[in-house]
Symmetry: C2
DNA sequence: TGACAAAGTAGCGAAATGCTACTAAAATAC
DNA sequence: GTATTTTAGTAGCATTTCGCTACTTTGTCA
């Protein structure tokens, strides 16, 4: 009583005869936007890899690579992240799939972008590899800047507001437009921009920010991280009220950096 | 003064010699989750297409198809939506990329899922094609149900809460598990679930809900749509206060359906 | 020990939200 | 016609959240 299709085939027969065809298929890659707080907790950093070959030779790019035929894009992202930066067991979430046909001059490539967050304490992992480096990244409504003062690299994009029509609504979108001599490879500036918008948005309704904190942290430090991600200052009292059911106090205190009372250490409740 | 790579090639030389290789590439498809409100404005509907061949023959599936070699996935989604349902010029946004290697028994397929919203007034477009039909869809914390009483089709998934570790955080995710005899094709139940979560979330901080409304609408109707998307009742006064700067009143009134005062018609401010 | 710096708490006005109750206008019943 | 029912729309107040200032506490440094 098996179902037969219009050609009279059962599913088993259909699958055994199925020919995928030899038309041209896109290649599939993953890229990972790795973000962490800087040492002073007053800004975000992004991990970039220097390209050693054409195209975009010598340009800085996100970590990434090709997806194997039998692995999910998530698995590929985990693998590439480890291979290129040594990082593992960090927060990783799918961000956006880039598919402009001309995004890679070599061939048609579909790129699934991921976003990774890394705790402050590990913020220097992977940075000793000569081809990887951490860049300060900041974004306002008008521009996005990536820089590494040690390397003397400065990249600047203005964010052009574009109003387009998607269905019946006017949608405002931002498109990064290069303003500096140096540039990110491919469409990676768009990915960085989208990633920063995503994380800024998710801070408001998830606990994603804790992925940027070490195991034990102080509330003033946590507040700084929230302030950077949200792009505005918060009030101590209100912040502590809102956060208190997400954290548990430890009975130790942190260190005083520039003199002043030592703050209590906390850890995230839903850490595993 | 052109840059040369390790093999002494300029970019132009490199690209002209570049061989993409003949290793196996995944196929790339798009699927579109088309959502609209039902007539009574007390629930969402999803547009499904009946599959006419293996695999998942006779199962209901999202609209979708293969991405051409030289089109973006967005373009492919627009094209497939029009080809399969006749719908065009509606809200369309990228949702998630599905990439489990075994998601299609025929071959490796990477699927970029999109979500489309359609105004009430057009809610029956495409439904006359015999292989397409609108299904009532509802989702609670525990289950997701899709049904079409005219066709006598009933699909039910329990939403199993899964706690997994992504980096340092415990993340709670829901996975749909089939409870009924009939089922959606492929991993489309996951896409529907993700889409409903996405839209529920976006209602809170965007004007996405207006894509589900006709040009002219009443505030009580708009409130019903918000209530369905958010899954909770709202207070008239507060709702009107919050919405009033997004809409402009027209000087006509709508029709009274079951007796009672006629309500004023409005339209969305940022409509084009 | 005193000056300074940061941690942490108290408290209050303003704004947003939860909630009840009313009046106004339309359809329906008689 | 008038009464009844139904929905639209407004008033108003209690509760909670948020914006903001000021204070006390505890540490470092000179």
């Amino acid at each position: 009583m098996e179902k037969r299709n219009a050609n009279g085939l059962t599913e088993k027969e259909f699958l055994s005869q199925y020919n995928p065809g030899d038309y041209k298929r896109p290649s599939v890659t993953v890229d990972i936007l790795v973000l962490g707080m800087n040492e002073k907790l007053d800004g975000l950093k992004v991990l970039l890899i220097r390209r050693k070959d054409h195209p975009f030779m010598d340009c800085w790019a996100l970590a990434g690579g090709f997806v194997e035929y039998d692995e999910s894009t998530y698995r590929a992202a985990v693998r590439e992240l480890y291979e290129e930066t040594g990082l593992s067991d960090i927060y990783l979430e799918q961000l956006y799939t880039m598919s402009q046909p001309d995004r890679d001059p070599r061939m048609r490539v579909i790129d699934v972008a991921y976003i990774a967050l890394i705790p402050i304490v590990e913020a220097h992992a992977g940075s000793d590899a000569s081809e990887a480096a951490w860049f300060d990244v900041s974004m306002t409504d008008e521009e996005m800047i990536l820089k590494n003062e040690t390397l003397g690299v400065f990249m600047k994009y203005s964010l052009e507001k574009k109003v387009f029509h998607n269905g019946i609504l006017q949608i405002e979108n931002y498109v990064p437009r290069l303003q500096s001599k140096e540039a990110l490879a491919f469409d990676h500036a768009e990915i960085v921009m989208e990633g920063l918008l995503r994380i800024r948005n998710k801070v408001e309704y998830t606990d994603i920010a804790f992925n940027l904190m070490p195991q034990e942290f102080t509330l003033p430090d946590l507040q700084k991280v929230y302030e950077i991600l949200l792009g505005k200052t918060l009030y101590k009292t209100n912040f502590r009220d809102k956060i208190q059911d997400k954290v548990v106090a430890l009975d130790k205190k942190g260190v005083s950096v520039t003199g002043g009372k030592k703050s209590l250490l906390y850890r995230y409740k839903n850490r595993y």
